[in-house]
Amino acid sequence: MSGRRLDAGGRIDRSRPIRFTFDGRGYDGFEGDTLASALLANGVDVVCRSPILGRPRGVVSAGVEEPSAFVEVAEPWFEPVVAAPMVNLIDGLVASGRPGVGRLPAQTHRTKPSVTRNRHVETLVIGSGGKGLEVARTAAARGERVLLVEREPYLAGSGLGRGPEGVEVLVDATALGVYDDGYVVVLHRGPEHDTVWHIRAARVVLATGAFERPIAFADNDRPGVMLNAAVGRYIRDFGVLPGARIVAFGANVTVLETHDLRRAGAEIVATADVREGWAVAGTEGETRVEAVHLVGPGGERRTVEADLVAVAGGWNPALQLYRAIGGGLRYDDDLATFVPDGSGPPWLEVVGAAAGDLPPSVAYWYTPAEDLSRHFVDLQRDQTVADVLAAVDGGLRSVEHVKRATYIGTAIDQGRTSGTMTAEIVNVALGWELGAQGPTNARPPFVPVSFAALAGLDRGPELLDPVRRSPMHAAHVERGAVFEDVGQWKRPRYFPHGDEDMQAAVARECLAVRDGAGVLDASTLGKIEVVGPDAPAFLDRMYTNRMSNLAVGSIRYGLMLGLDGMVFDDGVAMRLAEDRYLVTTTTGGAAAVLDRFEEWLQTEWPELRVYCTSVTEQWAVIAVGGPKARAVLADVGTDLDLLNDAFPFMTFRDGVVAGVAARVCRVSFTGELSYEIHVPSWDGPHVWEAVFAAGEMFGVEPYGTEAMHVLRAEKGFVIVGQDTDGTATPDDLGMGWIVNPSKGDFLGKRSLVRPDSVRSGRKQLVGIVPHDPDLLLPEGTQLIRSSTIGAPPVPMLGHVTSSYRSAALGWTFALAMVEGGRELRGRTIHAALAGGTAPVDVTDPVFYDAEGARRDG
């Protein structure tokens, strides 16, 4: 017969039936069942087929060590592969047997919601046996914050769902890993959502218990061969009798309580105690055990009719978490297994069965036989004693090598039942002492966990990574902006009119700036106030050019280098007062530049009296550019004199714009007359709208990052991080003019005269004009000397860093980094494209208004 539900007993709630589906058939179970107990109760012997040999497999254990019965859960939440004893039965559960290999569903599936929570405690106890409870109780009595986690739905030591007074208890909570300094990640499975606890504990106590070990014999993978303690647990906790005619086999057959069995209507038909020389040699049966072959001390054989073999091979302490954090093992002769050797981090303790507090046992790993090819060691990998011995015969000595040759221990259970067995089979085969080498290491996570669970809330378009929005974001949405991601920022890329595509919108926006006026949200620029009597000297050391002689009220462009002499970031410095500057950085470089300022001030030059404060988000920045910019700003309303003489290029003025206090800067990234209006970020939306209200009669247009890129590239202005990649010196970019070697030392200066920085043949910034005026080169296009692509390796001259259509010029153009590029100006080289090459001219990188006549309007 097969398993069946007993009339009484167990922790299940018989008043709460649960309907579930397995392999397409409906079954009944009870609240408190696991999928494994419910399948056993329904007489389902075969849960899945083994992955390589296709052999029928049933339930072996009642817990996380399960090596055999694996399922895919389709409803209510998809889980690709999970052990049947680890699935709590819930209404509407739909599952099917899977060999120990998961698969992704064809369709998108619902993932269970999950949230991470951080906790700090003085003592974390993992495992709720008697010893774990005792440790928790003692710690709580000392007034500590104590958390006890138990992977089962109730506490092992008390059978209750709550712990000692003052102890917070999480049940259905499995520690996935123990990491440095008492950091423990715990997966807490709830009915509606999972919680991934990130716990920081001053002391971690592992009361993780022990796993019963199996013994290999012929056809020991047949459904109906179970671990002895699991049989007891199914009877006691679930009121399920997994079999009625039982063969008890092992070195340590003390657990099965015969009166339980008798009451349940079962009997032990034979006992094979290896200490008396008896063993199970093999099993027979169709889909489950029907007969059991026994072998005696003198080699005598007998066969009994039986439907269940309960195997008690002794106990192995559950030390997976302990070993992963560096705990070591020693061999214990009495237990015939490995126990903690007392090493490991000082905040970690192992107690109870996990520490070796276990009944003694003899070493007996498999029943000897001529044919060992059906003595299964790792059921999930379909590997047998014969496979292990073949690996040793092949010359392997280390269990690490045997693991990699056989894959034993690499499946979901990570060798919980097979690891020590494999090590000892290898040890014995080599003629080494028992325990000469121990099992291979298991690594976190202790049980399978989905990435979705680990991600917690941090998934989806809004929360995977922060979405940063400018103060004017709502206005951009209203104007129909198409956004692009710039780092974490959402920046308007372009503002289409009607069903305009990007090309048309960008051309229109560019012409608006060149012919009329355009408005850009430049709020994302990094901004840092640099204050103190040594601020001028400090900035002279940070930038390649001199900032100390900048006049108050003036602005200067600056370039920063890495210590290796390569361009790191750029921006402008405004001198607000003798001892006060405001410097801007690129959008992406804001944090890095402030970090670098602080690093040098704190670690190298603590004597400099300079303080830095980030004001990136204090200020909204609205850039109004174009020939009509002055007229627009005048109409917006300002008390500033906007005429060139009163307010020249590269100066700033504090005043009132649109009724609010503002700082207006005459800088230009487009080559056109431009005013950058800086106002407190909460005033940004108001001023932004005021610019449009005033600019309506001038045809003012908002423009996005794409038009900004085109406009600056027409002027040959580089974008650090787009045209540079950390290997360009200022000279490579044609910006040697901004390096002032006479002013004293600055970061990166020494590297500018390293042999590699001054060698010929470095890549230099050039303009590229395709002969075909309509050919838009993809950014990243490789540039080569000849029109034919020869045999590899093809010598590369360089690559395209920026490429656009210019509405002002009427043709396409690009910027590129090309070996010895400045020497090649006026020459034709070739772009390597999919399907052939295209001729392009190398030019100066400034395409528009080279004389700079337009910046004053």
Binding site: Y183, E598, T603, D745, P755
Partner: protein
């Protein structure tokens, strides 16, 4: 995840910090006086010992202070953290005494 003791804010999770490499590699007083080899040595070469190692960290998501740490590279254990410029612990005392 390490628990790192910021000298000001106390123990915080590693994610609040950024690593700054070997400590006490002083910026040369006069880089231009160095040969190319000497400059390259400063620029590119760092120690990589097994055992106690002086390194710099910054409490990036907290008080933004740089500080020094003595970390055992073989055990990943932070032996001590202290402000820049302080040297409360003798490196020699630890060298070779940590468990491998």
């Amino acid at each position: 995840m390490l628990l790192i003791r910021c000298p000001w804010c106390g123990a915080r999770d590693e994610i609040e910090f950024r690593y700054g490499g070997q400590a006490q590699v002083a910026y040369p007083a006069d880089p231009e006086a160095l040969s190319d080899e000497e400059w390259a040595d400063y620029l590119f070469m760092r120690d990589n010992p097994k055992g106690p190692f002086r390194e710099r960290w910054v409490h990036a998501a907290g008080c933004r202070r740089w500080f020094q740490a003595l970390r055992d590279t073989s055990t990943h254990r932070l032996i001590a953290t202290y402000p820049i410029g302080e040297e409360p612990i003798s490196l020699a005392r630890f060298r070779g005494t940590e468990r491998a």
